[in-house]
Amino acid sequence: MSSNTNFLLAIENLTVSFDGFKAIEDLNFYMDESELRVIIGPNGAGKTTLLDMICGKTRASEGSIKFRGKELTRMREHRIVWEGVGRKFQTPSIYDELSVFDNLEASYPRGRSVFGALAFKRDDEVLRRIHEVANEIQLQTRLDDLAGLLSHGQKQWLEIGMLLIQEPELLMLDEPVAGMSVSEREETAQLLRKIAKGRSVIVIEHDMEFVASLGGKVTVLHQGKILAEGDMQALKQDQRVIDVYLGH
C-alpha cells in the first residue's frame, strides 16, 4: 500500500506492542484537510494510544504516520508540534500556578528556544492574539486569575485555548467534555464546531449525544483495530458496532 500525500494525515500499517500486547495492530487511518473526525470505542481499544503515537509520546513498533507527507514516527515531540500537530490531554493539563494570561502566553508559538524565550517581547500582536483566543474560550474576564482557580470545564477550555493560540493544522482532543455539565457540553460542542473550520480535528469521545452533535465522520476502534468507519447514523445500525460498543 503506498502512502497518499493528498491526505493531511496518513497512518499505515501502524503497530505498537507493549511487552507482546498489541495496543494498536496494523492500523490504517486517513484524514482529509479540514476534517472533523470522532474516534469512539470501548475502554482499551487503543484510542488514547493512537493519539500518543501521532504526537510522538509513544513510539511505533512498525508502520508509518505521515503528516503532510512528512514522517512523524521518528520525529522528536516538539518538532511534531512545530509541524502543526496539537494535542489536548485527557485530564486538563494546564499550569495551575500561572495566570490564565501566562498560560496562553506560554503556549504562544514564538520564543520556543531557550534564547528565544529569554528575548521574547510581549508586543501588541501577542496581546491581540491572547485576547482573541481568550474571547473564543470565554475566559476574557479571567485573564489575571490563577489557572488553578478555574472550574473543571474552564480548565478544559483553557487547554483548548492553549492549543488554539499555536494555530495547529491538526488538533487532537482526548475526551474534551469528560466531567462537564450539560450546558458546558453544549458550549464545548459549539466551540469545537467553530474551531474545526479551517483545520482538522480528531476527537476521542464516549458521550454519544456529544458525538452526534459534532457531526462529522466517526471511526470505531476495537482491540487496536478499526472496526468500522462512517457517519453516526449508519454506525448505529451496524451490528458489529452494537455488539462491541453501543449495545451496553
Binding site: K57, E77, F89, F101, A106, G111, L118, D144
Partner: protein, 383 residues
C-alpha cells in the same frame, strides 16, 4: 508617592526587596559589624550565591541538585590555584627541594608544575575559568541527564554521587590538589595583600555587588517568558513538551546558570577566606546549600540570601557552644521548615507584605493593569 508604591507592585515587585537587601548588605551590616564579623558575613554571602542558584533551578525549575558544592568548588579551586601559584614564588619557597612550585607539590615529590596548573599563572585565564568552567561542567552533566529524561530523585542522587566522586578525586590526588587540607596559605592577589582590613572591606563590597548583580540576572530570567516556561515545566512537563518546547534545553540552561552563579560564589569564598578545601564540595556542604534555600524560601531570590546568612550565623553561634548538637538542630530546623513553612521565611514576609500592600493599593486606587501584573500570583512568592 505613586512611584514609591509601584516598587511593591507589578513588574517592580521583587525589585523593592532587592533594593532593601542591597541596603542591608552595603550599609547596615558594615556599620553594625566589626571587620571580623563582616568578613564572616562575607563568607556566608558566598554561600548565598549557591542558594540563589538553587532557588532558580530547584525552586522554579523543580530540579533538585544535591551537588551544588561541585560548582562552588570549581570556582573556588580555580581562584585558589591562581593565588597559590602567586604565593609560591621561588624566593618564598627557597627552602623547598624544588622552589617555585606550591608547597604541597614539593611535599609529594612533584618537581614540576602540572600542565593543568600552568594556565592559572594568568589572572585573565583564571577569571574566565571561574566564569566558564562551572557552567561548562554543569552543561555536560545536564546534557547527559536531561536529554535522557533523568529527573527528580534520580537526578538528585546522581549529582550527590558526583559531589562525592569529586571530593574523593581531590583528596586522592594530594600532589596535584593539596588533598584533604586543600589549597591553603593564600596571601596576595597581584601583590595586593588580601588579608588586611582594607582589602577585606573591599572584597566584602565586591562580593555584595556581585551578589546583587546575580540577583538581578536571576530576576530578569524569571520575569522573561523563559521564567514562566520554567515554572510551567515544573508543574506539567508533558504539557510544555507538547506545546513545542525542547524541555531538556530549558533545564540545561537553568542548571548551567545556577552553576555559573555558584562558581562566582566559590571564587569569592577563596578570596575572602584565604583557602579552599574539599570540605566545601562534598555531601554536607551541598545539602547545607539546599537547606539555606529551603529556609530562606525556595521561591524567593532574596530569601535564599537571607537563608544563607541566618542559618550560617546560627551555625557559628550554636556550634561554638554545642558542636555535637548542631547537626541535630539543623536537621530539626529543616524538617520544621518543610512541614510548617514550605516556602520558607520569605512566605512570612509575603503574608505580612500582603497585609501592608492591600491598604496601600486601596489608598492609591486600583492600578492593576494586567500587562504589568499578569504574573502577580508568582511575584508575591517571588518577592
Amino acid at each position: 508617592m505613586n512611584r514609591m508604591y509601584r516598587l511593591f507592585q507589578g513588574r517592580y515587585a521583587g525589585l523593592g526587596s532587592i533594593v532593601l537587601l542591597a541596603i542591608v548588605l552595603m550599609v547596615v551590616m558594615p556599620l553594625a559589624f566589626d571587620i571580623y564579623r563582616l568578613n564572616l558575613a562575607g563568607r556566608y554571602l558566598t554561600y548565598a550565591f549557591v542558594a540563589l542558584g538553587l532557588v532558580l533551578c530547584w525552586g522554579y525549575g523543580g530540579i533538585l541538585s544535591l551537588g551544588q558544592g561541585i560548582f562552588f568548588g570549581i570556582g573556588g579551586y580555580a581562584m585558589a590555584m591562581f593565588l597559590k601559584i602567586e604565593s609560591s614564588d621561588p624566593e618564598s619557597t627557597s627552602i623547598q627541594t624544588t622552589p617555585g612550585i606550591p608547597d604541597f607539590m614539593d611535599w609529594n615529590r612533584i618537581t614540576e608544575l602540572p600542565w593543568f596548573w600552568v594556565p592559572f599563572n594568568s589572572l585573565t585565564f583564571t577569571i574566565i575559568a571561574v566564569l566558564v568552567l562551572p557552567a561548562a561542567f554543569a552543561f555536560l552533566i545536564g546534557f547527559a541527564m536531561f536529554k535522557r529524561r533523568v529527573s527528580g530523585v534520580y537526578f538528585a542522587i546522581i549529582t550527590q554521587a558526583l559531589a562525592v566522586v569529586l571530593t574523593i578525586l581531590i583528596i586522592g590526588q594530594q600532589g596535584y590538589t593539596g588533598g584533604i587540607n586543600g589549597i591553603t596559605d593564600l596571601r596576595t592577589l597581584l601583590g595586593w595583600d588580601i588579608r588586611d582590613d582594607s582589602s577585606r572591606y573591599l572584597l566584602y563590597y565586591l562580593n555584595a555587588i556581585l551578589l546583587i548583580g546575580c540577583l538581578l540576572i536571576g530576576r530578569w530570567v524569571l520575569n522573561c517568558k523563559y521564567g514562566r516556561i520554567l515554572t510551567a515545566l515544573r508543574d506539567k512537563e508533558e504539557r510544555v513538551r507538547f506545546s513545542g518546547y525542547d524541555v531538556a534545553n530549558f533545564k540545561v540552561f537553568i542548571f548551567c546558570l545556577a552553576a555559573f552563579i555558584s562558581g562566582i560564589g566559590g571564587a569569592m569564598f577563596t578570596l575572602q577566606v584565604g583557602f579552599m578545601s574539599p570540605s566545601f564540595i562534598g555531601i554536607v556542604p551541598s545539602i547545607e546549600f539546599v537547606i539555606f534555600a529551603a529556609v530562606g524560601g525556595r521561591l524567593s531570590l532574596v530569601g535564599g540570601v537571607y537563608g544563607a546568612l541566618i542559618v550560617s550565623f546560627a551555625k557559628t553561634m550554636f556550634a561554638e557552644a554545642y558542636p555535637q548538637l548542631w547537626q541535630f538542630l539543623i536537621g530539626a530546623v529543616f524538617i520544621l521548615v518543610v512541614l510548617v513553612l514550605p516556602y520558607g521565611l520569605a512566605s512570612i514576609y509575603g503574608r505580612f507584605g500582603q497585609r501592608l500592600r492591600t491598604p496601600l493599593a486601596r489608598w492609591f486606587g486600583d492600578r492593576k493593569t494586567h500587562s504589568s501584573t499578569s504574573d502577580d500570583g508568582l511575584q508575591e512568592k517571588r518577592s
